[in-house]
């Protein structure tokens, strides 16, 4: 996944309405009318959010069907969440090494000046 693509995914998920739509679609495909039901929002308003989600690759819509049910592309969401997990792992491992490094240099120079 490219960096731009990840940015688009996170930008799409930055909005609470769009997060709610994604959460709803995680439970199964739904039409625009069904998605609009829990919100005090017009169908065009919901459609605008769906377009953002579609462009980011988070949802897909059937082109030919009359009711065009929306479908969550779980792999796109997984990739976005994977970035968070990967970043967390990198910092965790770096900090583990830093902890050991700090112990080493403080043992080497216990009297105060820890600099090289």
């Amino acid at each position: 996944m490219t960096s731009d693509r990840l940015d688009a995914t996170f930008a799409a998920l930055a909005d609470p309405t769009r997060r709610a739509i994604v959460a709803r679609l995680a439970a199964g495909d739904a039409t625009v009318t069904e998605l609009a039901a829990p919100f005090r929002m017009s169908l065009p308003g919901i459609s605008k959010h769906l377009k953002v989600l579609e462009r980011s690759g988070l949802i897909a819509r059937t082109r030919h069907a009359q009711f065009r049910p929306c479908h969550l592309r779980a792999e796109a969401l997984d990739e976005a969440l994977g970035w968070i997990e990967e970043s967390r792992r990198i910092w965790d491992e770096r900090f583990h090494k830093l902890d050991a490094h700090l112990r080493d240099i403080q043992q080497a120079h216990p009297s105060g000046d820890n600099h090289d």
Binding site: A23, K97, L98, L102
Partner: protein, 149 residues
């Protein structure tokens, strides 16, 4: 989903070392080379460039120990306030990393990492100012915490 903003990551760790020393480890290549590469990788000293002042470069290369493949990262420092805060932005991804160091008063240091993928529309000076303000508040909150035992 959690209340944490997606696309943002917070990570904290307490180190048994004074804040000035921890800060130096985070900006000096001679220290960075010892820990910058995560498990299974190394960060060769010769390939680390760090010019810790706003606008200065911060470049590192992580080398995979198994196959030698290289992962270069190029960033630019946004803020360097020794010994409490360090901010840089990765040039290719636009991701901003903020490290906040808090002196726990007993020789230990609390470090908080905040990493955010900031979409282009949020990269304006106004948006950045708001971003820093919220970090200021968090740093203030951390500073007011009693040392943890």
């Amino acid at each position: 989903m959690t209340d944490q903003e997606l696309g943002e990551l917070s990570f904290t760790r307490t180190f048994d070392a004074p804040r000035e020393l921890v800060f130096r480890c985070l900006i000096e290549p001679e220290h960075l080379t010892h820990f910058w590469g995560p498990a299974g990788t190394s960060a060769p000293l010769a390939q680390i460039k760090a010019d810790p002042r706003p606008g200065g470069v911060f470049e590192t290369v992580m080398v995979n120990d198994a196959d030698g493949s290289e992962y270069p990262t190029r960033a630019v420092y946004v803020e360097v306030t020794e010994p409490e805060r360090l901010v840089w932005t990765e040039t290719h991804s636009g991701m901003t990393v903020t490290l906040t160091l808090s002196d726990l008063g007993d020789g230990r240091t609390h470090v908080r990492i905040h990493q955010a993928r900031v979409p282009a529309e949020f990269r304006t000076p106004q948006a950045q100012a708001g971003f820093l303000t919220s970090l200021d508040r968090f740093a203030g909150y951390l500073a007011g915490l009693p040392p943890q035992r």
